[in-house]
């Protein structure tokens, strides 16, 4: 974990309302593990004082990139950043995805920026398995070719059928469990909207396999001090708060009190 002044190398919209920001950040790039995030102070946006958390997408040497969606003030203003300009980043933060357990078969489940958040894992994971990408329509489906280039079997579902199979990601996932999972010991790695995380957790329980889910609670400090980002996790018979920015953002799905997740 460190504070670093990163320099923008390239910055452009890639698809729909998603943008690719590539920066030179040797310190953070050298340390980041799959599932971790960086905390960015958006330049020129002084009246918004908090940083904004983004999962690390790719790292090549000192080059670190994020894929972000324009959803509000910060992400809108971020788009004005041009190559050569610098920004303050804090990272790598949080507790990312563990290594695939020996003998397990990796199953990735992603929605929205989750596809970017799982890329590093997909690349560093020795065993290439199957990846389920879901979204509202084609423009919400990112990085398919990147994953395929790495040797992953990517299954796309879109709610409007504009790409891949029509329906929710769970449709394809359930089919897979029904007809293809046999002989595999699946281990799920999930990053996407709350609904997708819950559905995956539920499948993991049903099929008695492990699911690693990455939550995206709103954050303040990003380092465990402000207690903004907490969520309820099991603690014996009772529950306790866990910090998405420290103990998470990746949790074993069986530890989370899903019904309590906001």
């Amino acid at each position: 974990m460190q504070l670093e002044q990163a320099t923008v190398v390239a910055h452009a919209p890639i698809q729909g309302s998603y943008n690719l920001l590539q920066m030179n950040a040797p310190g953070v790039a050298a340390r980041v593990c799959p599932g971790q995030f960086i905390h960015i102070k958006v330049p020129y946006l002084e009246e918004c004082i908090l940083r904004r958390p983004f999962s690390v997408f790719r790292v090549e040497g000192a080059l670190l990139s994020i894929l972000y969606k324009d959803v509000g003030k910060g992400t809108r203003t971020l788009q004005y950043l041009e190559p050569g300009e610098s920004l303050s980043i804090l990272g790598p933060l949080g507790h990312g995805f563990p290594q695939l357990q020996a003998g397990n078969f990796p199953v990735l489940i992603a929605g929205g920026y989750g596809m970017a958040a799982l890329y590093l894992l997909a690349r560093r994971c020795a065993t290439k398995g199957v990846a389920f990408f879901g979204g509202r329509s084609a423009q919400d489906i990112l990085c398919v070719s990147d994953f395929e280039a790495l040797g992953w079997d990517v299954r796309v579902t879109t709610e409007d059928g504009t790409q891949g199979r029509q329906g929710l990601v769970t449709l394809a996932l359930d089919d897979w469990f029904a007809h293809e999972a046999k002989g595999h010991k699946p281990e799920l790695f999930v990053c996407g909207p709350g609904g997708m995380l819950k559905a995956a957790a539920e499948r993991a329980e049903r099929h008695q396999c492990t699911a690693w889910t990455s939550v995206d609670n709103n954050m303040g400090c990003g380092v465990g001090a402000c207690l903004t980002c907490v969520l309820k996790v099991k603690d014996g018979e009772s529950w306790t708060w866990a910090r998405a920015c420290r103990e998470g953002p990746v949790f074993n799905s069986r530890d989370i009190l899903w019904e309590e997740l906001v």
């Binding site: 974990m1 460190q2 504070l3 102070k41 002084e46 009246e47 918004c48 004082i49 908090l50 940083r51 303050s88 804090l90 609670n217 709103n218 303040g220 400090c221 990003g222 380092v223 465990g224 001090a225 402000c226 207690l227 903004t228 907490v230 969520l231 306790t240 708060w241 420290r246 906001v262």
Partner: protein, 304 residues
């Protein structure tokens, strides 16, 4: 020669006048990887009450113009948990540790103070009075002068440690509370706590925070805090610790100039974890540039 920026807050000797604000720096370990804790003037930890508490439901914070609204709800490990989990870590550093305490009743405040009294490595107590008295009509201790007096007296009776009540900002006469604290034997006062506020969601037709109201902090409250610190410092002889929206050395110099003997950095640490250390460095550089030999010559130097 480099100026002397050490300061003393009611018996707490600090190598520089910049401490962390309670609740914005955890208990120390959270930032230890990013900041050399030994370079801080003092560490003020997150508020501690008698027993472990879970705090509020979510959302707990929301961003507002040039500020942050928070209603964390004072979750914490309680006295015993704090002493067990954090004091050993904090003792490793050469920095005064100020424990911020709170309670639901006057008795709880006194009890917590008593239990911390003889603990090695604790330099002093800051008292958060911006919470309701659940036993007596749940009025907030810090905005009722009689209750404020009783709670400060009760704590004073329970500890020999340097005592620093932290004043609530939402009162019409801050000097009255400052003088009361001094009269009750407080060794210093700190202000301001975050300002009671509200944010609402027009779409949901409800408050944004689970707790409904929250405390406003950050640059937005700096002008309000500066005036209150100025008035409080003029009202008492004991040292005043100023805070509220400090994010750079210039901000800190302003609080010191109006009479604060030290300052605390709060919300800004969330944005730039190294703020407190940078502020201390900036204060030294400014005094050097201005040819001011000692911080004490700058404190209260405003012409007004």
């Amino acid at each position: 020669m480099t100026p002397d920026i050490s300061t003393d807050i009611g018996g707490i000797a600090m190598k520089n006048p910049v401490m962390t604000a309670s609740g914005t720096f955890g208990y120390g370990p959270e930032y230890a990887e990013l900041v050399d804790l030994n370079q801080l003037g003092a560490i003020v930890v997150k508020g501690i009450c008698l027993n472990a508490t879970k705090g509020n439901e979510l959302p707990r914070t929301t961003e507002v113009a040039s500020g942050l609204l928070n209603a964390i709800g004072l979750p914490g490990p309680g006295v015993e948990g704090f002493l067990r989990d954090y004091m050993p870590f904090l003792r490793e550093y050469d920095v005064p540790v100020i424990v911020n305490i709170w309670g639901k009743t006057i008795e709880e405040y006194a009890d917590v103070a008593a239990r911390l009294n003889a603990v090695p490595g604790i330099a002093g107590l800051e008292v958060n009075v911006s919470c309701p008295n659940v036993k007596e009509g749940s009025a907030v201790f810090g905005t009722d002068i009689r209750m404020f007096e009783r709670v400060v007296k009760a704590i004073r009776g329970a500890t020999q440690l340097p005592l620093m009540p932290k004043l609530a900002p939402n009162v019409s006469d801050i000097a009255e509370y400052a003088r009361c604290a001094e009269a009750c034997g407080a060794n210093a006062i700190s202000l301001i706590n975050s300002f009671p506020s509200l944010a609402v969601d027009v779409e949901k037709r409800a408050p944004v925070l689970a707790n409904k109201t929250g405390g406003l902090s950050g640059p937005a409250i700096k002008p309000i805090a500066l005036r209150l610190v100025w008035l409080a410092a003029k009202a008492v002889k004991i040292p005043v610790v100023g805070m509220g929206g400090i994010s750079c050395a210039k901000d800190a110099l302003e609080f010191l100039m109006v009479g604060a003997s030290a300052v605390a950095v709060g919300t800004a640490s969330f944005v730039h974890p190294d703020t407190a250390v940078r502020v201390a460095k900036g204060i030294r550089e400014f005094l050097e540039k201005e040819g001011i030999a000692s911080l004490s010559d700058w404190i209260g130097s405003i012409r007004a």
